[in-house]
């Protein structure tokens, strides 16, 4: 076996065959799908949930994870926050010619481990190799399939004034961890990305019988953008409180240095839940029993239904409207 991935590894011939056998099949322990052009699955129900995401994170390895882990977490979480039970993943790799095989192995291993920990199976895969300069190392697409819950489903239709907005932990860890790992701006921090699959924790929340109206994972665009989308999609007036937001000191510090707003930083292991006020404590208790939910907090509530908008209450008690991230966040001197 070569030490680097070559273009020929992606041409469907003998090298491609070897790469798939030696790196992927061995990690995913799934010979079956390689005999047919598709994988065959049996589900208990015909009601399924499907989601897809491509992962282009830079750098590929960062404190707290790598692109393989995030490719599982991101898609598992998208299924889980939609209220379904994640079961299967497909994984499509786009690899730049010359990519170190050892790194590929690490990423694939991590993807396999994370999938197994989350209780999902990798059922189909694909590998393409592009010319040097045709990718920034490696990209992964994962598509997830889950079954919709019969019991304990989420009920977005019941969203109402007084519902609480809960976040499962601190805000912006992933965004700043990645920025620091990139090294370009000179930030140094011990911060870890929060990237992790949340499905087991979310399962427990739902199975607790709490009335969960809606969930979403505040990834790209951060908590503010995610809440604006919920507000607009469901016509909810949402108000959150600046002082209630759990934020790590390191994240605050980095934001102060660069002029960033933590509300717009990406998270990869957090869920926002809209829950009936009466169930607030029950949900917090379940979340806080998981390490990934230790810092769960109520950050706001729904103030009315009708016009969708998001307000932030400042420590001074005044309110200002938050909108979607507008353009990229760029470090500022002014």
């Amino acid at each position: 076996m070569e030490r680097k991935v070559t273009l020929a590894c992606g041409d469907g011939g003998e090298l491609a065959h070897k790469l798939i056998q030696q790196v992927f099949v061995s990690a995913f322990q799934n010979q079956d799908a390689s005999r047919f052009d598709s994988a065959f699955l049996s589900l208990e129900s015909g009601k399924i949930a499907v989601t897809t995401d491509s992962f282009v994170v830079n750098p590929l390895f960062f404190p707290g994870g790598n692109i393989g882990k995030i490719a599982v977490a991101g898609t598992v979480n998208d299924l889980s926050v939609a209220g379904s039970i994640p079961l299967y993943l497909t994984a499509g790799f786009i690899i730049e010619e010359g990519f170190p095989l050892e790194d590929l192995r690490k990423i694939v291993r991590s993807l396999a481990e994370e999938a197994s920990a989350a209780g999902v199976r990798i059922v189909a895969g694909d590998t393409k190799v592009v010319e040097k300069g045709g990718a920034d190392g490696l990209y992964i697409n994962t598509t997830g399939i889950g079954v919709q819950r019969a019991e304990h489903a989420i009920r977005p239709g019941e969203m109402q004034e007084g519902d609480d907005v809960i976040i499962s932990g601190t805000v912006g860890d992933h965004g700043i961890a990645i920025l620091a790992a990139r090294g370009e701006l000179g930030l140094m921090t011990d911060l870890q990305s929060d990237c992790t699959p949340l499905n087991h924790m979310i399962d427990k929340v739902l199975e607790s019988g709490a009335h969960v109206r809606m969930m979403r994972d505040p990834t790209r665009g951060g908590v503010a953008t995610t809440l604006v989308e919920i507000a607009e999609d469901f016509g909810a007036a949402i108000e959150i409180s600046e002082t209630a937001l759990p934020i790590r000191n390191e994240v605050m510090g980095a934001c102060d240095i660069l002029g960033f707003d933590p509300l717009y930083l990406a998270n990869e292991g957090k869920v926002i839940l809209i829950v009936a006020r009466n169930d607030r404590q029950r949900v917090l208790d379940v979340l806080r029993a998981f390490p990934e939910g230790r810092n769960a907090a109520v950050i706001g509530h729904i103030t009315g239904m009708g016009e969708g908008r998001l307000l932030l209450e400042t420590p001074l008690g005044s309110r200002r409207r938050l909108r979607r991230l507008s353009g990229m966040m760029l470090p500022r001197i002014c």
């Binding site: 930030l187 140094m188 240095i257 002029g259």
Partner: protein
């Protein structure tokens, strides 16, 4: 005009210092604050320490705000 952030000096070298802002660290220039000591705070702008924070004044103004907040209106 200029984003500036208070940062604690935790290591001093010849022309630069390692500073800490609530746990996030960074190497900054100390060309304009060469006398800064480890443990002191500087205002950092565009990668340079611009001013050493005078802790006596800082404490004084904290007190003053409290006073002001408590003060009756004339």
């Amino acid at each position: 005009m200029c984003v500036g952030v208070p940062a604690k000096v935790i290591e001093k070298k010849e022309y630069t210092a390692l500073v800490d802002v609530m746990g996030t660290k960074m190497e900054v220039g100390i060309l304009f604050v060469p006398e800064v000591e480890v443990g002191e705070y500087v205002i950092v702008h565009a990668g340079q320490g611009m001013s050493i924070i005078d802790q006596v004044f800082a404490r004084e103004s904290l007190n003053e705000w409290g006073k002001m907040a408590r003060a009756g209106i004339i």
